[in-house]
Amino acid sequence: MLLEIRNLHAAVEGKEILRGIDLAVDAGEVHAVMGPNGSGKSTLAQVIAGHPGYTVTAGEVLYEGRNLLEMPPEVRAREGVFLAFQYPVGLPGVANAQFLKAAVNATRTHRGLEELDAMEFLEWLKQKMALVEMDASFISRPVNEGFSGGEKKRNEILQMALLEPKLAILDETDSGLDIDALRIVAGGINQLRRPDNAILLVTHYQRILSYVTPDRVHVLAGGRIVKSGDRALALELEARGYDWIQEEAEALSR
């Protein structure tokens, strides 16, 4: 099992958001994590990546059988855990090429590979940029500065392509995208699907799942996974909304 989450509880500023998550993801799979606003979807993504603002209060997360929660965030990243941020933050004055090369080489060094030099990296970068239809001017622009919403999301997918993670968590990468941008982003994700990696697709809407077909769909409500199923579940949510799920969940917890 690539990722195994058992009874995970997590809090932010003393407020418990995750209240016992159980989830298992195998290599080669795409899992969609859906749910209404405030259900804990983004928190789950941030906790797996190791955001310092969240405190794990109970439970465990195993990554390739090892305790993920013990690893500092940069080690998780180098071990192949990638988070595509919902709101990627800007780094003024830091050129994309400089940032991405440092990121790629940090991971390569960790994996015992030789660092790429400037020319090798540029080749590699250009190849991956084509995947998300990124303009050449992107290379020298500062990270996420003056980017449109769509560009920021494409940049996240580009970084995922460059870093070749084993576990990619995409946190609402589809939200706020127009249909063309969605198509590019989804195309990028599909090309990165491989038998040896897994994708956790955190989303509010069903529409990206028309492009990226998930193996499993989980619905989060009140910090727990209240329902799991296949692709049909996503379509049912699209048709019926989230209310019935929440009602079911409340009925269960009574």
């Binding site: 310092p52 500092p72 941020f85 780094l91 003024p92 004055g93 830091v94 090369k101 440092a102 990121a103």
Partner: protein, 484 residues
């Protein structure tokens, strides 16, 4: 402590690598200052009469200032009173005048080599001519002959006084008169060496000229003077670097730099200042009280100052431009980093006198530890300066909770056609920025370096290549990935 703070602490608590002392025998005057000391300095340097007279005028002026306690106290820095009678005003390595650089005391050559400035012929930096100043004297200048072929004079100040007295007499004190301020007066009285450069009409200097200042002796002050004259239509790029040993006592560095750009000439002056900053508790370090000013004397002349100030216990300096010629341009690009108990009060003055003159000020202040960083700037537009333009941008970055950033911009406009803009910002490295970088596999130290370096980018891009590298290294940044 937040993760950002921990990372910043780890990054900023590095050792000063240039704190060594070189064992050389010194020829020093006794500590203290009086007319006799001034006469002795002048005599040691075998100066012509006009120099001695100039020094004495400066000394007498300084003495009246000292008696009336006129040492400037308006800067936003705190330090104990300086005992001017305990400072050694002249200290030179004891040796016969070296006929060539290869005859210089090997200890001194080794010292410079350790600092990354090899002076020997075969090891020299390509494309950079260096004047190496060790305590009070210049120990050698590289590429002198090659520059002379183009008519460019690049030598120590002492040599210029002997070989080109007419140029020195004409321009010395023409931008910073000895009456300018307390420290300029002191410097004028006792300065012992420095660099001199004259670029003749229409000549574009083919290499970077550079002076490397090294304080070595204990209890001595360093008072050097740099004078650069760019004749009509010429161009020169000048670099200045500085380091000093780690000592528990504060040492005074009071330099004066004067730049003169005649019609259509351009001078680019870059500094990477890394004097010893004192220890973590704020003990020791250099008091860097420096007067730097350029005069755009002719029309369409241009002077730009770029400074990266990372050292010194206290920095007090305002590299300025007098925009006298019509359509002249003045620029000031600055990065000042204060860490531990360092204090910096730095900025610029842009004095618009001529018509259609333009100036740009970009200041980046970074404060960490208990450091205090002040930007102080004056933009002055005189009545004749029709259509003068200024753009000022002052950005501060705070790393930690105990440091401070302050901005004192002064704007005085006496011509209604002038256009003056001022922008300012204060920022921190956010937890989100740090987490974003770590999520991409960067270590916290790397992330902070990269973000700080990005913050300084607008200034660094104005540095010559070699210096840009030095500057980024100074901020502990590996600027890998400069693609293309």
């Amino acid at each position: 402590m937040s993760t950002t703070e921990k990372t910043i602490r780890a990054l900023t608590e590095r050792e000063y690598p240039y704190g060594f002392v070189t064992p050389v025998e010194a020829d020093s005057l006794p500590p203290g200052i009086n007319e006799d000391i001034v006469r002795q300095i002048s005599a040691k340097k075998n100066e012509p009469r006009f120099m001695l007279d100039w020094r004495l005028r400066a000394y007498r002026h300084w003495a009246t200032l000292e008696r009336s306690a006129a040492e400037p106290r308006w800067a936003n820095v705190r330090y104990p009173s300086i005992d001017y009678q305990s400072i050694v005003y002249y200290s030179a390595p004891k040796q016969k005048i070296a006929a060539s650089l290869d005859d210089v005391d090997p200890e001194i050559l080794r010292a410079f080599e350790k600092l990354g400035i090899p002076l020997e012929e075969r090891k020299r930096l390509t494309g950079v001519a260096v004047d190496a100043v060790f305590d009070s004297v210049s120990v050698g200048t590289t590429f002198k002959a090659k520059l002379a072929e183009l008519g460019i004079v690049f030598c120590s100040f002492s040599e210029a006084v002997q070989e080109h007295p007419e140029l020195v007499e004409r321009y010395l004190g023409s931008v910073v008169p000895h009456t300018d301020n307390f420290f300029a007066a002191l410097n004028s009285a006792v300065f012992s060496d420095g660099s001199f450069c004259y670029v003749p009409k229409g000549v574009r200097c083919p290499m970077e000229l550079s002076t490397y200042f090294r304080i070595n002796a204990a209890n001595s002050g360093q008072f050097e003077r740099t004078l650069i004259v760019a004749d009509e239509g010429s161009y020169v790029s000048y670099l200045e670097g500085c380091t000093a040993p780690m000592r528990d006592e504060n040492q005074l560095h009071a330099a004066v730099v004067e730049l003169i750009a005649l019609e259509g000439a351009q001078i680019k002056y870059s500094t990477v200042q890394n004097w010893y900053a004192g220890d973590r508790e704020g003990k020791g370090g250099i008091f860097n009280f420096v007067t730097k000013r350029g005069k755009c004397a002719g029309p369409r002349s241009r002077i730009s100052w770029t400074q990266v100030e990372t050292g010194s216990a206290i920095t007090w300096k305002y590299p300025s431009v007098i925009l006298q010629g019509d359509e002249s341009v003045g620029e000031f690009y600055s990065v000042a980093l204060t860490n531990n108990y360092q204090q910096a009060d730095t900025g610029t003055k842009m004095i618009h006198i001529g018509r259609n003159t333009r100036s740009t000020i970009i200041s980046k202040g970074i404060s960490a530890g208990h450091g205090n960083n002040t930007y102080r700037g004056l933009v002055k537009v005189l009545p004749r300066a029709a259509n003068a333009r200024n753009y000022t941008q002052c950005d501060s970055m705070l790393l930690g909770r105990q440091c401070g950033a302050h901005t004192f911009p002064y704007i005085e406009v006496a011509n209604s056609s002038a256009q003056v803009e001022h922008e300012a910002s204060t920022q921190k490295i956010s937890e989100e920025q740090l987490f974003y970088c770590k999520q991409r596999g960067l270590s916290g130290e790397n992330a902070v370096s990269m973000i700080v370096n990005g913050f300084c980018k607008e200034v660094f891009k104005n540095l010559p290549m070699e210096f840009a590298v030095e500057a980024t290294r100074l901020l502990d940044v590996s600027l890998e990935g400069s693609v293309g």
